[in-house]
């Protein structure tokens, strides 16, 4: 097949498009920083997950070590079952705490892993038993007001 100048331009065009897509994937999207190569799944039960969403980060000491894979509702225990996908590079002890925190005052919610001292590590399919629910602001305020109300008559 004879090559024409048209082919060069079209080739250049397609190459630019692929380069732009690569740029979007690497620099803009989180394809590089977020490829959790090998992962293992663990679950954690919560009474209340607040505004936690799938794909929210799982952090430990502020470093992203995984993502939330899915959130289900267990009708036997009436609890939320959160599945965490954690990078294989980061093993955590069995007695790790999984707490739900909020980044900033209005930011997104994430799960923070605080490792314990157990010699055994979490394996695929394990359940984290030590969890702490999301802080619901309304609950806090109502508790505070309730305490105030009970305090009042003592004076």
């Amino acid at each position: 097949m004879d090559k024409t100048t048209l082919d060069i331009w079209v080739g250049l065009f397609v190459a630019t498009g692929i380069a732009a897509l690569m740029g979007l994937a690497m620099k803009v999207g989180n394809l590089t920083s977020n490829t959790l190569g090998e992962t293992y799944m663990v679950t954690a039960n919560y009474e209340n997950i607040g505004g936690l969403k799938p794909r929210a980060p799982v952090k430990s000491s502020g470093v992203v070590v995984g993502r939330i894979d899915n959130i289900k509702f267990d009708t036997k225990a009436y609890q939320a079952v959160v599945t965490l996908k954690i990078d294989k590079r980061y093993p955590f002890p069995k007695d790790t705490f999984a707490n739900i925190y909020t980044s900033g005052l209005l930011g997104e919610q994430y799960i923070s892993l605080e490792p314990g001292g157990d010699d055994h590590f979490l394996k695929e399919g394990d359940r984290i038993s030590k969890t702490q629910d999301a802080v619901v602001l309304e609950k806090l305020i109502s508790q505070f007001l309730y305490n105030k109300a009970t305090d009042e008559p003592k004076k």
């Binding site: 097949m1 048209l6 082919d7 331009w9 079209v10 250049l12 065009f13 397609v14 630019t16 498009g17 692929i18 732009a20 897509l21 740029g23 979007l24 994937a25 620099k27 803009v28 999207g29 989180n30 394809l31 920083s33 977020n34 799938p54 794909r55 980060p57 992203v64």
Partner: protein
């Protein structure tokens, strides 16, 4: 004649003619898909069309993407700064471009730049009876003329949209980092954390592919269906822009509502 009857019959006429046009456009679309095997075998025809629809549109895409990105950067900064989170300007620019502005503005520009050219070209081919001549020679004009242009449009559009998004992000960066003075690292890292490859980049590409198919088939149909007169071709060209723009915006809503529900 009763004036009310006249109005009603006018409305009815409008509706039936629209539906008739929709039907024949769908038939053209299906015929194009059937004949596209032949156009893939004659790849040089398609490359020629990619040159005219894609490569020739690149300048308008790059320039407008750059300005759109810069405006997003400026506007975003003024609002985000009020909430003390001007670092997330990168996220704003990237998400706005990848999810919406990249595919949509590219499609609108594409309809104006390439769609009109396609309509005018095919309309004129029809007016000068080139299409009938082909049929006389037992060459299907759909395989020879329509299908290569269709695939060229469908291929060019996602490429143009990714170029648009990338250049737009660069424009936003130029305003945010050197001019306004947002931290360089925060700009990129915030963007990196909050933009998801599958959810944002791939969905944007799917959108642009759908827009490409819609815009091209509308342009082809309008050209193929144009009355073979100078006035007919000019009207068809106008209709291409109007219909494609409306189709893009309508499809955008439908696609977004599918993609955002998870």
């Amino acid at each position: 004649m009763n004036p009310i009857f006249k109005i009603l019959s006018n409305i009815g006429n409008q509706v039936t003619s629209r539906i008739w046009r929709l039907g024949s456009a769908t038939r053209l679309f299906l015929l194009t898909l059937i004949y596209s095997g032949e156009s893939f075998r004659r790849i040089h025809l398609m490359i020629r069309e990619i040159y005219f629809t894609g490569v020739m549109s690149i300048i308008i895409i790059v320039v407008s993407a750059f300005f759109v990105g810069m405006v997003l950067g400026l506007q975003g900064y003024y609002t985000l700064q009020k909430y003390g989170s001007s670092e997330s300007i990168g996220v704003l620019v990237a998400l706005a471009l990848l999810r919406e502005l990249g595919p949509v503005v590219t499609a609108l520009l594409f309809a104006g730049r390439a769609g009109t050219a396609i309509t005018a070209e095919i309309g004129l081919m029809k007016a000068t009876e080139q299409l009938s001549a082909m049929e006389m020679m037992a060459i299907s004009p759909i395989a020879r003329i329509i299908a290569p242009r269709f695939w060229a449009g469908a291929i060019s559009m996602p490429i143009l949209a990714s170029i648009f998004s990338m250049v737009g992000v660069m424009g936003g960066y130029l305003v945010a980092v050197p001019i306004i003075g947002v931290d360089h690292g925060a700009f990129w890292s915030q963007m990196n954390v909050n933009v998801d490859f599958k959810f944002d980049v791939i969905n944007g590409l799917i959108k642009s592919l759908v827009f490409g198919i819609a815009c091209t088939i509308i342009a082809l149909y309008e050209g193929y269906d144009a009355p073979p007169t100078a006035e007919g071709v000019s009207r068809a060209t106008t209709r291409t822009v109007v219909t494609s723009s409306l189709a893009v915006l309508g499809l955008d809503f439908i696609l977004t509502s599918f993609m955002m529900s998870y």
